[in-house]
């Protein structure tokens, strides 16, 4: 039996997961997410938060899995992409954990981890993947050894658009109430479409113009109608780009992963799309949609079995590590 401990600390969440194989089972998934009282994240504050909670989270994960640290075979860590100061905390802890032991270090790309935990938890075989979060909006699919990017945002991420708009409209923080994003709560009370920029360039999307125009529209229109228009236009852009990827790849599944995967209104739209294209829609369950340690541990397990390790000396953080730079040897 192989047991992997995974550490996630690319952005606002510090998480630790523990996974075993034969059969694959997630033994622990513990996390702590930093929520600023106002405004966005200050990278230095994130790092301080992660460093403070880390020892406790690791202990809780080991307790949840009911194992001793000596039983762990490999330590997996997300080396990127993400914010430098936050990444450094996870990487330092991972290095410290394997130092002076025979345990090996496994480098994990955060985006790939979102995808693989999605495949694992939904049973998706060969989907077109929508990776949607506060930092990423990527339409990707596995083709010949790598997850290739079919479309992505050309500027800000979809989740970032929704969060910043909500903040500027004084709807947030908190951004999510009872599992529903505040823009959805607001949008459900609206229904009149305002003319805002709809920008699809081939298979890529641009959200920054929509954000600027929406913030300006707050002075001239009903808040609920602005919420509705931002949400509809943003998701419709995403779905149009997704349709292009479906037409190009001819794949029969759509898998949605990342923090925005929990959106109920997106799910509704995707179900229409699924019917039109005769594709099945698979959405990562809430416990694995946001950043978490289990996805790092699980991907670390796949990689370890394919012989992917990294020496401590080489384990530098990679804040701009794209998913299409990773050779997904474990899938070949």
């Amino acid at each position: 039996m192989t047991i992997v401990l995974g550490i996630e600390s690319t952005a606002h969440t510090f998480g630790v997961g523990i996974v075993k194989d034969n059969p694959v089972q997630i033994l622990a998934n513990v996390k702590d997410t930093y929520v600023p009282k106002e405004g966005g994240f200050i990278p230095g504050e994130l790092a301080r938060h992660h460093a403070e909670v880390a020892p406790d989270i690791i202990k809780k994960a080991l307790k949840q899995a009911n194992i001793d640290f000596n039983q762990i075979d490999y330590v997996a860590v997300s080396l990127g992409p993400g914010m430098g100061p936050a990444l450094r905390v996870g990487a330092s802890i991972a290095r410290a954990l394997v130092l002076h032991t025979s345990k090996k270090l496994v480098p994990v790309n955060h985006g790939i981890a979102h995808i693989e935990i999605g495949n694992f938890s939904t049973g998706a075989q060969d989907p077109v993947i929508l990776y949607l979060s506060g930092g990423n909006t990527i339409i990707t699919s596995f083709v010949d050894g790598r997850y290739r990017v079919f479309g992505e945002t050309l500027d800000i991420a979809l989740g970032n658009l929704l969060d910043v708009f909500s903040r500027e409209a004084k709807l947030a923080p908190p951004y999510v109430i009872n599992g529903v994003h505040v823009i959805d709560i607001c949008a459900d009370k609206g229904g009149k479409l305002i003319d805002l920029p709809y920008t699809v360039k081939g298979q890529d999307m641009s959200f920054s113009g929509l954000l600027t125009a929406a913030i300006r529209a707050l002075n001239r229109y009903r808040l609920e109608d602005v919420c509705y228009s931002v949400r509809e236009i943003a998701f419709d852009m995403l779905l149009e780009a997704t349709e292009r990827a479906l037409a190009l790849t001819e794949k029969k599944e759509i898998l949605v992963v990342g923090g925005v995967a929990a959106s109920v209104s997106l799910k509704k739209k995707l179900e229409f799309l699924g019917k039109e294209w005769n594709v099945s829609i698979k959405i990562v369950p809430p416990e694995y949609s946001g950043d978490n340690g289990a996805m790092i541990a699980y991907t670390g397990l796949l990689e370890a079995k394919a012989g992917i390790f990294i020496d401590i000396e080489d384990s530098v953080i990679r804040p701009r590590w794209r998913i299409d730079e990773v050779d997904a040897k474990w899938r070949s």
């Binding site: 699809v200 509809e232 190009l248």
Partner: protein, 218 residues
């Protein structure tokens, strides 16, 4: 008017083959999207149908091979076009056929469109058809627009490069080199355009080139 068969279910429209007043024709029918807000849906469908026909006609006037327009109904989202025989550039690339000549020709078409102020909006190898007698045709002006903006032209080139990278990565360097060769034969702003392509790529998330260029500036 007679529809024979569905030949492509595209991202935006269904494309049928059939006969229109006895002519072999393509029927491009934009479909309402169930997921889309109805107001937005109607607006997008009518606007794109009109724009598509107008820009195809402009391209034809600029000596770019496009199918002739036979009939148009914006409110229904219907466009009827002359049928062009041939394989798509995507199929040709998949069979590794005439990569050099076809890439040059694709580049020429893009260059000529841009020189005449037309940005295609979805310049990928699926939208180029190779006809044995009359050469290469460009289709699907659904996302095209009038423009003199380097950004729009660079976006076209970026989309073409992106398609090579995702669907034809084995031949991408060769195909792109010849594409640019053809492009520069027609349009003299190729350096500006390539700089624009680089800028678009750098705007993407987590791009390695961006970090490198920043380091080299320091």
């Amino acid at each position: 008017m007679e529809i024979v068969k569905l030949i492509k279910k595209g991202a935006e429209a269904e494309v049928y083959e059939g006969y229109f007043l006895g002519m072999h024709a393509i029927f491009k029918q934009r479909k309402p999207k169930a997921y889309r807000d109805p107001t937005l849906d109607k607006k997008i469908i009518a606007e794109r149908t009109i724009m598509e026909a107008r820009l195809m006609y402009n391209a034809l006037k600029a000596q770019v091979n496009t199918p002739a327009i036979l009939y148009l109904d914006p409110s229904e989202g219907l466009l009827v076009l002359e049928y062009v025989e041939g394989k798509t550039l995507r199929e040709k690339y998949n069979n590794f056929e005439d990569i050099k000549e076809l890439s040059i020709e694709a580049g020429r078409i893009a260059g000529r469109l841009h020189k005449n102020g037309i940005a295609h909006g979805d310049l990928n190898p699926n939208n180029l058809i190779v006809n044995d007698e009359e050469g290469m045709f460009i289709i699907d002006f659904g996302l095209a627009k009038r423009s003199d903006d380097i950004e729009d032209f660079a976006t076209d080139v970026h989309v073409f490069l992106r398609s090579l990278e995702s669907a034809h990565y084995r031949i991408k360097d060769e195909a792109f080199k010849y594409f640019i060769e053809g492009y520069s034969q027609e349009f003299n702003k190729v350096q500006e355009i390539l700089k624009g392509v680089q800028e678009i790529r750098m705007r993407g998330r987590y791009v390695e080139e961006r970090r490198k260029s920043r380091t080299s500036n320091e």
